[in-house]
Symmetry: C2
Subunit: 340 residues, 2 copies
DNA sequence: CAATCTGATTGAAAGGTTTCAATTGATGTT
DNA sequence: AACATCAATTGAAACCTTTCAATCAGATTG
């Protein structure tokens, strides 16, 4: 079975406390003693017991990552950023998919609290941050991921969603489109709401029109359904801006099935710029977010708070999105322009 | 701060041991005592300290999931299966991307050992299972994921990769193709090797020819590079079978850039049937694997071993793959057939 | 030479649980 | 009435660390 510090101490003929010092305060121990202890550690293949350590020190190198859905390539990439930053710091990441359901999120938060994680990275399933209050009270470092912190007591790392919405709209407007559709996701997702605000402002100030269409979830399946329903009701437009790439990919399927060509009949603009956007049926114009960097930055924030809560100052890091034009968007056709 | 079992015991006027019994052996405690304790738990918002519990009981409801790359939608979906099974059983999953690098895998295994996880689900980065020996010796439940267990001392959940390779080959052969290319990944990945065996056998016994092309990693980028190199060397063929969908998606880009049409000039067959295979430039014919089920089954195996190591019998679960025909594969063209 | 200081090491307590042998009180048996 | 049985509860030890006050041996100082 695994050996403990006691075994190491015995083999190296020192006390338990000295072994602990070798591990945690090497500056306190004489070089040759340290060498002896290290030899014993190697000999016994001693691996510290993290739970025991955490019990005594109240310091855990474990992070909880709570995201709506890791199947969404956006979050997959964010998760990679989180994980790499965590591993660098000797931390480990517990993956929690909330499916954007409050109930599931609550269950996970309880489990994470029970596990006494040092920090939590969360893209909340709902606006209220109440459920996080308990955690904060118990000294857990919380960082909001892809959401801007509303209050002063947490860090956050996010991307400017209003600007992203505006970028998408301006791209469509610049191509001459006047009749847009905004394919939104659930209204209570803050990212969606912000993108919508940015888009609406841009469209209005250009005097163009935009219709709102809501998908139930941020998935291809939902996007396909929503677009199919809209088309069957005779909705007319020349450009479609989607709250994320999955919705766009789904909507494109419905559009194709209805005999509409992209970008000839309809220009489509996605959001996130997931890897598959580039290999889609028609390479997708999209608003790129620095996904990996977002996760990486968020993890570094939360880790720094874990390491030294006392001197930690809460921060909000915000990244800028960027429009990537591909074949799915094109100037509005002449017939369309005249057709009105 | 969080309250402990001692606080609960005091409030409910019982001993510590009784509180523990309420939590772990409710059958031993009188109904009204239990009720009193539960009231106290609710009152104090007591949440058990999992690390302390694990320290004493040597039983942790924590799993390590080690995969090459969660960005690969195949593993994303597998991970969802793992996570759902875990949450159902009150377990939590630590996500570890090995990037298929032995060094990174070793680092993670050490961290997982330090965390004293109850079980590990792993798609090994290399053939040797040596590094797992230590863990097994220390009583950690190990289950091989998407790999068949070679020995008796671990469980495994996998998909029949030889059959998958054969399915892909037979599909191409049935469509009349006689000059195939097998776009393989790194040779030391067992899944790739097995698929290759299945494919080669099928092709040979049909008397057709197949050339082997190797990509460095199982990614779109690698697929694109490999195919580009092959084309620039004048490789000729009518059907391309890929070791996974990402390679296929990448290869298709290179093929398109070279002016080749799919499926008119080249039929392409992928492997995994990731969600994006269906929305690709040309919907991709692929070998479907029950990804979610694979993860779910593997997690259930490892959890059952965690819960009751004594009565646990190691098992190998194997799923069957299935060919999904889409537009990327078509009968070999007449000119091609005659051209030989 | 006594007193003080410094650096290295030690020993014991504490952290929150589970486990198990021991105790208690009530019920049933002879 | 004495005893055995049984269910419920208790108390203390154990799990493996970290922490910190206390000790010790030398070196430095006055």
């Amino acid at each position: 079975m695994g050996s403990s510090m006691k075994d190491v101490a015995t083999l190296a003929s020192v006390s338990l406390g000295t072994v602990s010092n070798v591990l945690n305060h090497p500056e306190l121990v004489a070089p040759d003693t340290a060498a002896r202890v290290h030899r014993a550690i190697r000999e016994l293949e001693f691996i510290p017991n993290a739970p025991a350590r955490q019990l005594r020190s109240h310091h855990a190198r474990v992070l909880g990552l709570v995201v709506p859905d890791i199947s969404n390539p956006f979050f997959t990439e964010v998760a990679r950023g989180v994980e790499d930053a965590a591993l660098d710091a000797g931390y480990v990441v517990i993956l929690c998919n909330s499916d954007a359901q409050a109930e599931r999120e609550d269950r996970y938060l309880a489990v994470l609290e029970s596990q006494r994680v040092g920090g939590i990275l969360i893209t909340p399933a709902r606006k209220s941050l109440k459920p996080l209050g308990r955690l904060l009270g118990n000294g857990v470092a919380v960082t909001l991921l892809d959401n801007e912190a509303p209050a002063q007591d947490v860090c956050s790392a996010s991307v400017d969603d209003r600007m992203g919405g505006a970028l998408a709209a301006e791209h469509a407007l610049k191509l001459g489109h006047r009749r847009l559709v905004w394919l939104a996701g659930p209204t209570d997702i803050p990212q969606v709401a912000d993108r919508e605000v940015g888009l609406m402002n841009a469209v209005r100030s250009a005097g163009a029109s935009v219709q709102r269409l809501a998908a139930e979830h941020m998935t291809t399946a939902s996007g396909e359904m929503a677009m199919e329903a809209a088309l069957s009701q005779g909705m007319e437009f020349t450009a479609l801006v989607c709250a994320n790439d999955l919705l766009a990919l789904g909507a494109i399927r419905a559009l194709n099935r209805a005999g509409l060509r992209i970008p000839d009949d309809i220009s489509v603009i996605g959001y996130d710029d997931i890897e598959f956007a580039a290999s889609a049926a028609v390479p997708l114009t999209s608003v790129r977010q620095p996904k990996y960097e977002l996760g990486h930055a968020a993890a570094r924030l939360v880790i720094s708070e874990c390491e030294d809560p006392a001197s930690h100052a809460h921060q909000r890091v915000q990244f800028q999105p960027q429009l990537v034009a591909r074949q799915s968007s094109a100037p509005v056709s002449a017939s369309e322009t005249l057709g009105r």
